[in-house]
């Protein structure tokens, strides 16, 4: 393990933790602009975190130690995930230790703890949110795995740095299977991050909530960690998408801090565009009925499978 690898590793985690709230602030700002509203400050999510961290936590009387542990576990999972997704460069020691399947497992662990924590207090809304979250997760996970198999099949590995390096080495060859996978990935991203049309991050209607219903009982530092973790999750998903489908400007092995800085610039540009795109999509769509969500995710799964099939047909034809 070289010094540069350690640097890349540390930079990836720190950048993710530091920039994730900014991404949320940017998306919220774009949404407000697109709705002709005056936008909230870009740095509002940071201020919210600071405010929450300064407050005293209130716990329900019926809360068990599990409830208190959940924010730390979920935040930890998202931080580890940030360490294995090639966001700035591919020289990630952790990325070789944990592959794409492990990443899905990390997300699943976080989800499971969120749901357990939500049910722990025993309120109707917590269980309601947990139930819906598990429904969404149960459908989104296979679709995400299929997307990952798509890229793994192209590169012959499930280790993410390897996948990205091979994709970059391939150049911009037209790859229909990647197009299908990218579409499926965006759909999974929307569902997994509680965005429209599956969930509405801005709603105040408790009966329609999914993610928000699960966090209603958290306060102060616990809520801060949960919100930060949610921002990190969006950031992670965005970086995952860039790594597979838009691997421009990623620092490769044995490059110095300059390449990392260049990678960070590219990342910022991509996040700027992706955040605006997400806001645009959310502004144009209405929320689906809860029972349409399975159709939506089944479509994502089908697209990913189509990607796999085209890949198999394609490579078969060439051979």
């Amino acid at each position: 393990m070289t010094l540069s690898a350690l640097l890349t590793q540390a930079a990836a985690v720190v950048t993710a933790a530091a920039l994730a709230p900014l991404l949320v602030g940017w998306v919220n700002q774009c949404r407000a602009w697109l709705q002709n509203r005056t936008a909230p400050p870009l740095l509002l999510p940071y201020r919210t975190l600071r405010k929450l961290l300064h407050k005293d936590a209130v716990l329900a009387e019926s809360a068990s130690p599990l409830f208190r542990a959940v924010p730390y576990v979920v935040f930890g999972c998202m931080l580890v995930a940030a360490g294995i997704i090639p966001s700035l460069g591919t020289d990630l020691p952790a990325g070789r230790a944990a592959d794409a399947i492990a990443l899905v497992g990390l997300f699943a662990t976080a989800r499971m703890f969120m749901a357990l924590g939500a049910m722990d207090v025993g309120t109707a809304f917590g269980s309601l949110g947990a139930r819906r979250e598990m429904l969404i997760g149960f459908l989104a996970e296979p679709a995400l795995l299929m997307v990952l198999f798509n890229v793994a099949l192209i590169s012959g590995s499930t280790a993410m740095p390897v996948i990205v390096d091979r994709l970059v080495a391939q150049g911009f060859a037209v790859n229909p299977s990647l197009a299908f996978a990218a579409l499926a990935f965006v759909m999974v991203l929307l569902a997994e991050n509680a965005r429209l049309p599956i969930d509405n991050p801005a709603t105040h209607l408790e009966l329609t909530m999914i993610h928000e219903a699960m966090v209603l009982e958290y306060s102060a530092r616990h809520l801060a960690l949960i919100e930060w973790a949610a921002a990190l999750k969006l950031f992670n998903y965005a970086c995952l998408g860039f790594a597979f489908f838009l691997p421009l400007g990623l620092a490769s092995e044995d490059t110095g801090p300059t390449a990392l800085l260049l990678g960070a610039t590219w990342l910022a540009a991509k996040l700027l565009l992706a955040g605006a795109g997400l806001a645009l999509f959310e502004t144009l769509s209405a929320k689906l009925r809860v029972f349409r969500a399975p159709e939506f995710l089944a479509m994502a799964f089908m697209l990913a499978v189509l990607g796999l099939l085209t890949r198999l047909l394609f490579s078969g034809g060439v051979a």
Partner: protein, 506 residues
């Protein structure tokens, strides 16, 4: 037994009957297609030694005030009429909480009584004790048993800043088997407060019964009072009242259309419609001195005249609104995601609506073609030929469509009112109100018919004033509308009715 004439109605009769004749007459009225206006009770022990239970029913252009006298010393029981008019059930329970007159109904749970002891009846003249300091025990909700059935309690404190109401859902998975509402959290004693006002000032409180119906309720109050005084406002004042009422309808419909989009996750709709509503409210502030036309309608006329410059401003604003509305209507209609949420959600069939007596806007979306402005037009509506908007589907989409169409009708009405605005005085002094008979006022507010029943005491004070919001008729229908829908669709369905809490809890 006399009743002051009510504008727009050819007959307005009042009868005092014994219990058997009372229930017979109500049954006949129901069979003939009459609609329930209101049910309330009053304490007339000082003058006649009785408690009275009054029911107002409306049948096309005839109003009947049917009254039952319960001697103060005897049993205060009277026949249950909720079998004839389902909406009367809760009005009977409220009358029981406030005055201790008891319908012989199966449901004897308190309705408005949340925080005062049993046996204290706040509307009685001799009521002693404090309301608001002794919480009543747990409220027995009807429970649904079965495999996998569980309850979701929602409110009265909600995640958003909205009025308080409790909703108890019995669900299997996401499907709603039953909804039970619990209201009364904003009971403020408005009816009691009325009794401390001189009759000539009651319109100020009437305007504040429900802020979204300020013009409607204050007009209905003034209509009742003017009937008692025997005076009539000048034509210009009537036109200006109608303008205030139609502007109120516009503001509420626009606000609701935006909120309906937002509840379906389409925040763009909210910001656009909120902008349109805000423009209207700011113009209100300019021409009425208040964003909501609170103290605009006064006995004998209106408070503010409208200069021709202001009329021009309002007309120009209406032109801009028409253009914007057409574009937004197209966006709503062509949005597949939005239509998917609206169509088929929260359906109330015309048959069910007829049985429940669904009133106003929600009723018209379920094929109940009743609109006071068309059916019994009081001046100035008798000269305006208001076009009634109805739909038969009875779902959220129908209620959205009725709102869009009624907004257009209201814009047209505003234009006509301004173009034909008569010259002359805006206010005339009224003779003293008579105290030997009650008066009624009925106005088609944006939500539906608003009724005010008014009795004035010999010294000119209000003896009893009952403001009745159509929400009393429509809240029970919401419990039916949600059945077999899924839990996350409830906020949207609820918003499509947008019923009053304050106007209902009084």
């Amino acid at each position: 037994m006399d009743l002051a004439p009510v504008p727009g109605f050819t007959t307005a009769r009042r009868q005092r009957l014994d219990a058997n004749a009372w229930i017979d007459q109500l049954a006949q009225a129901r069979a003939a297609g009459a609609r329930l206006g209101a049910l309330w009770a009053s304490d007339a022990r000082a003058t006649e030694g009785v408690f009275r239970v009054c029911v107002v029913v409306q049948q096309s252009r005839a109003l009947d005030w049917l009254e039952l006298a319960l001697p103060a010393g005897g049993p205060l029981d009277y026949p249950d009429i909720s079998g004839l008019f389902p909406a009367a059930g809760r009005m009977q329970r409220a009358a029981c909480d406030l005055l201790g007159v008891r319908a012989t109904a199966a449901d004897q749970r308190p309705w408005l009584r949340h925080a005062w002891p049993e046996g204290l009846f706040p509307l009685r003249a001799d009521a002693a004790g404090t309301v608001g300091e002794s919480p009543t025990g747990p409220y027995p909700f009807v429970s649904v048993a079965g495999d996998g059935v569980h309850e979701i309690p929602v409110g009265p404190v909600h995640a958003g800043i909205i009025e308080p109401g409790h909703f108890r859902f019995s669900v299997v998975g996401e499907k709603v088997l039953r909804l039970e509402e619990r209201l009364g959290y904003v009971h403020k004693g408005i009816e009691k407060r009325f009794e401390s006002f001189p009759a000539t000032e009651g319109q100020r409180l009437a305007a504040r019964v429900s802020g979204d119906s300020a013009a409607g309720f204050s007009w209905a109050y003034c209509m009742a009072l003017e009937g008692l005084c025997g005076g009539e406002p000048p034509p210009r004042a009537l036109y200006l009242r109608a303008l205030a009422l139609e502007r109120e309808r516009l503001a509420n419909h626009l606000g609701d259309l935006g909120a309906l989009g937002n509840d379906a996750g389409f925040a763009f709709g909210l910001s656009q419609f909120a902008h349109l509503k805000e423009c209207l409210l700011r113009t209100n502030a300019e021409i009425y001195g208040h964003r909501y036309p609170m103290d605009e309608v006064v006995p004998g006329g209106v408070m503010h005249d409208l200069s021709s410059a202001a009329a021009g401003l309002v007309l120009r604003e209406l032109d801009a609104l028409t253009a914007q509305l057409a574009r937004l209507d197209a966006i709503y209609t062509d949005h597949p995601g939005l239509q998917d949420r609206f169509v088929g959600a929260g359906r109330v069939s015309p048959e069910l609506a007829a049985r429940l007596g669904l009133a106003g806007l929600a009723g018209r979306a379920s094929g109940q073609a009743f609109d006071l402005r068309t059916d019994c037009p009081a001046p100035p509506y008798d000269r305006l030929e208001v076009r009634m908007v109805t739909r038969n589907e009875g779902d959220v989409a129908a209620r959205v469509a009725v709102r869009f169409e009624e907004t257009r009708v209201a814009i047209e009405l505003c234009r006509r009112l301004l173009h034909e605005l008569p010259a002359g005085a805006i206010r005339v002094p009224l003779p003293a109100p008579r105290s030997d008979r009650p008066g009624l006022g009925l106005v088609e507010g944006w939500r539906g018919p608003l009724l005010v029943a008014l009795e004035v005491a010999g010294d000119g004070r209000i003896a009893r004033c009952r403001p009745q919001d159509p929400s009393w008729h429509n809240w029970p229908a919401l419990e039916h509308a949600i059945i077999d829908n899924i839990v996350p669709d409830f906020p949207l369905i609820n918003k499509s009715f947008n019923l009053a809490y304050s106007g209902h809890d009084l």
